[in-house]
Amino acid sequence: MGTEASSGTKLLSICGDCARPGIYEIKLGTPLSEILSLAGATDVQAVLMGGAAGGFVPPGDFGKPICFSGVYSVSGAVVVFNQQRNLLDAVAYYMEFFCHESCGYCTPCRVGNELLKSCIDRIRAGDGTAEDKEYMLSLAGVMKKASRCGLGQTSPNPILSTLTSFPELYEPRLKIEKFKFNLKRATEEASAIAGHTSLHVKEERMQ
């Protein structure tokens, strides 16, 4: 049963946007698309294979078999995201999860997860720049290579897999020009404490 290189069956826990979530035992080698129809998932935008530290699989790869050489979920976790979901919000959610999960023992995981999370948040807030993609790739590389345990070595995966398979999530949000200082946002906290807005912010708004 299964394929020559990946024999036997696999238990998958399928959840998310599908009519019949649950635990499925499947033959290894079964195409992902077949599993999706078993679970009653339609209008699928992405499937997260392997939980938070796994990877987002795009529709173009749904025909691939579930096995070691195809698409695989080591943990068995499969999360379905339909077209209504904002994938970048999901990525940010998983990074928040890793910031919380990091025990703080080693530097790359303790600091790296925070930096990745704040970069994703910056992109979501509309302040992403063309350099952010390279920045996240290099930061993720440091974490993967130098983290002490599997958490820091795999936590950049939601970002890395979406950068590869869903570049359209990022590209429109990464402005070509250099980062422009947002005076209003930078002074928001101080303005709230002072009870009035800075004169410079008012002038900027009038321009």
């Binding site: 990091s102 703080g104 600091v111 790296g112 997860n113």
Partner: protein, 245 residues
């Protein structure tokens, strides 16, 4: 089993005794691998990752990874230099390290390693965390702004001083050093003569009232980079032939 292990660091043959780590063997051969949490007086913690090297193609901390026969260690490569530099930069941005106003400047291992790595400014954004100062002890000050969570004081207090003054609390980016008293360091049995005071690689644990007794310019790392013979870290030797650039 042979009593001598032979392996290579960037092609240079290094001999080691069984059980020695890569960093211990490298120190004996005057190959200086940067390190911050590692100190020969306390158990290896391997948390800072500043000593990352590639062993047989895989990144490992040189301080905890045992030397093994025939291993090929990549140390002075562009990739590994950038990786180590990147990790030290992370340590700078996660705390508040204002070298010009820090009385450890010139004696600080973090600063010295950064100079040796030629870090001018970090590639990551400063986090400016809010951290406290504990001045409750009559002779010792803790400035959490500068703590790099190396665990040297935690282990030194427990093992060398026979006390249990320090422990880490919380997790992730919020992980911090705590003391064994609600009243702060002043409520513990810590004394100025404790090893835990003097083992701190940065300016986080400082003896009071001696701040600038040794003037700037005459301090350990003012005349020669860390890893040179006149550096105060006993694990380091004269390594002018291996500049960490």
């Amino acid at each position: 089993m042979s009593d001598t292990i032979k392996f290579r660091i960037d092609g240079q043959e290094i001999t080691a005794k069984p059980g020695q780590s890569i960093i211990e063997a490298a120190d004996e051969h005057d190959v200086y691998i940067p390190r911050l949490c590692y100190h020969p007086k306390v158990p290896c913690h391997a948390s800072c990752r500043a000593c990352a090297v590639k062993v047989n193609g895989r990144v490992q901390p040189a301080c905890s990874f045992p030397a093994s026969d025939g291993a090929e260690v990549e140390f002075d490569t562009d990739e590994m230099k950038d990786l180590r530099r990147s990790i030290v930069e992370m340590l700078f941005i996660e705390g508040n390290h204002f070298c010009p106003s820090c009385e450890k400047s010139g004696d600080c291992e973090l600063q010295a390693v950064a100079y040796r790595m030629e870090i001018e400014s970090p590639r990551y954004p400063f986090q400016f965390p809010h951290r406290d100062v504990d001045a409750s002890h009559p002779d010792i000050l803790i400035d959490h702004d500068r703590c790099i969570l190396c665990s040297r004081c935690v282990d030194a207090s427990r093992i060398l001083d026979g006390k249990n003054v320090f422990e880490f609390v919380q997790r992730g980016i919020h992980k911090k050093l705590a003391v064994n008293s609600d009243a702060g360091l002043g409520g513990t049995n810590m004394e100025l003569t404790d090893e835990a005071v003097h083992i701190c690689p940065v300016g986080a644990i400082l003896p009071k009232r001696v701040g600038f007794k040794v003037p700037i310019g005459e301090r350990h790392y003012d005349s020669a980079p860390i890893g040179s013979t006149n550096g105060h870290n006993p694990a380091t030797k004269d390594l002018e032939s291996h500049p960490e650039k």
